[in-house]
Subunit: 276 residues, 2 copies
């Protein structure tokens, strides 16, 4: 899966050539896909436990899943359905909104640095420092020159994370223009979903081509060996969940965390315990 979805470093990207409803590999329909995702829970949980256990003996390795995508692309749904497969105690989830006044006073990487997973954890960013080259570009929130430098700042930052044992998995949730309309309408048509809707979403949607271009640039300039981007077709929620679960599984397997050995005398401890 990783190889199929990965954006090769330096490659030019035309998102129009990626079908957001594609099923590039794996289960072919919803029922099979859901069952396959549910079946991954055991392996994911077991690898996560090993990762955490290893950290108690000094292993600094951890995972950071970065989720980006247009409104309604399913960032929240991914957290619910994919991260929901893991033990919540080892997950550190952070949703980034518009920066606060305090955050704006700092370099743009400041707030993400504070939210990084600790060794042994699986960190999840629902939006991230990429907003600073996405909405910041589309809405011209910073001068062009400053914006241009951010891509290499991001690459250096992510390389330093990789050097510190962080496996960075960056996922672009790719949905189609029609699908977004359908999902926004669904929110409008269901009063229980009104809290998820905000009128500004329609204005953002009007900037669709500019956002797609901003994503293309981020994918082109920031898919590195240290921290590659993956394009996940996200029109089908069940497929998105299966694909991201599988991506995480493959990365956890590549880490290959192992339970640490105890630093105590098992036999002596057993004797002492049985005497109590």
């Amino acid at each position: 899966m990783s190889r199929l979805l990965r954006v090769p470093a330096g490659e030019r990207i035309d998102l129009g050539r990626f079908d957001p409803a594609a099923i590039p590999a794996g289960p072919a329909d919803k029922a099979t896909g859901r069952a396959a995702t549910a079946r991954l829970a055991g392996q994911l949980g077991s690898l996560q436990e090993r990762l955490y256990a290893a950290s108690t003996a000094g292993d600094r390795r951890r995972v950071l899943l970065v989720l980006q995508g247009m409104d309604t692309s399913g960032k929240g749904g991914t957290v619910k359905h994919v991260i929901g497969l893991f033990n919540p105690s080892g997950c550190r989830i952070r949703a980034f909104k518009a920066p606060t006044p305090e955050e704006l006073e700092h370099p743009f990487l400041w707030r993400v640095t504070k939210a990084l997973p600790q060794p042994g954890e699986i960190g999840i960013f629902d939006r991230s420092h990429y907003e600073d080259v996405l909405i910041a570009r589309v809405r011209e929130l910073v001068p062009r020159g400053l914006l241009g430098r951010r891509y290499s700042e991001i690459n250096r930052f992510e390389e330093s994370l990789a050097d510190d044992g962080v496996t960075v998995v960056k996922v672009f949730l790719h949905i189609g223009y029609e699908e977004q309309r359908a999902r926004l309408l669904e929110r409008l048509d269901n009063p229980d979903k009104h809290w998820k809707f905000n009128a500004g979403d329609i204005e953002e949607r009007a900037l669709w081509p500019a956002y797609q271009r901003a994503y293309e640039l981020a994918l082109e300039r920031c898919s590195t060996d240290a921290a590659p981007w993956f394009i996940v077709p996200a029109d089908r929620k069940w497929y998105r969940n299966w694909a991201i679960s599988t991506l995480l599984l493959e990365h956890l397997e590549a880490i290959g965390p192992r339970y640490p050995e105890g630093d105590f005398d098992v036999e002596e401890c057993r004797r002492r315990l049985l005497a109590t």
Copy 2:
């Protein structure tokens, strides 16, 4: 369930009279219990979503689950199996270890205050400020006079939380002396569990009666109307999971969170959206 397990304010507690393997209500065997717990996921998730949705419209209400209990009593297992039923994005989990030098420089409530759930969230403390009247009492980490004042400080603190919209649910995971030995032996006998074991656990176990007494005092002095304690029989893991899930369900139902109304013109938004 709440009424059955709740420690009445001011009541004297003799933990020896509570059977840690009891099944005071609900499913009577493991298979039924597990299925019943799994069936609660839908309701729990739905109430959690309403709670979170309400917070986006200014509702400050939230839940704080405090988990306390002897080593191996299942605090971690509760997070995995009970909190695992919720959407992880709305859960704020904090495990408290021995205080750091920085934490020791502050009043004992400082570190818990920083870890409180935000409005709309479900907070989980794996250990808590109660350690400051438990291990602190048993190990005589502070002078007796200071210790004695902590109970009323805790009560005032928790009352202020309740005033601010926090539903505090404090759970004592009650396991038996024999059951703890069995669980420690299990960790010793399985190399994959050695990372969970530490030789100091045996020394803590030798202080069992002092810890039970410290728990009794905490339950007696800090079960208030604002923040009651619940004693959950925890020798049977499946029962513990069902009981705590049910406690959370009852408290969430009592909060009765509701989806907020949208502050936009649905028809106008629909027209604008269909025009895109």
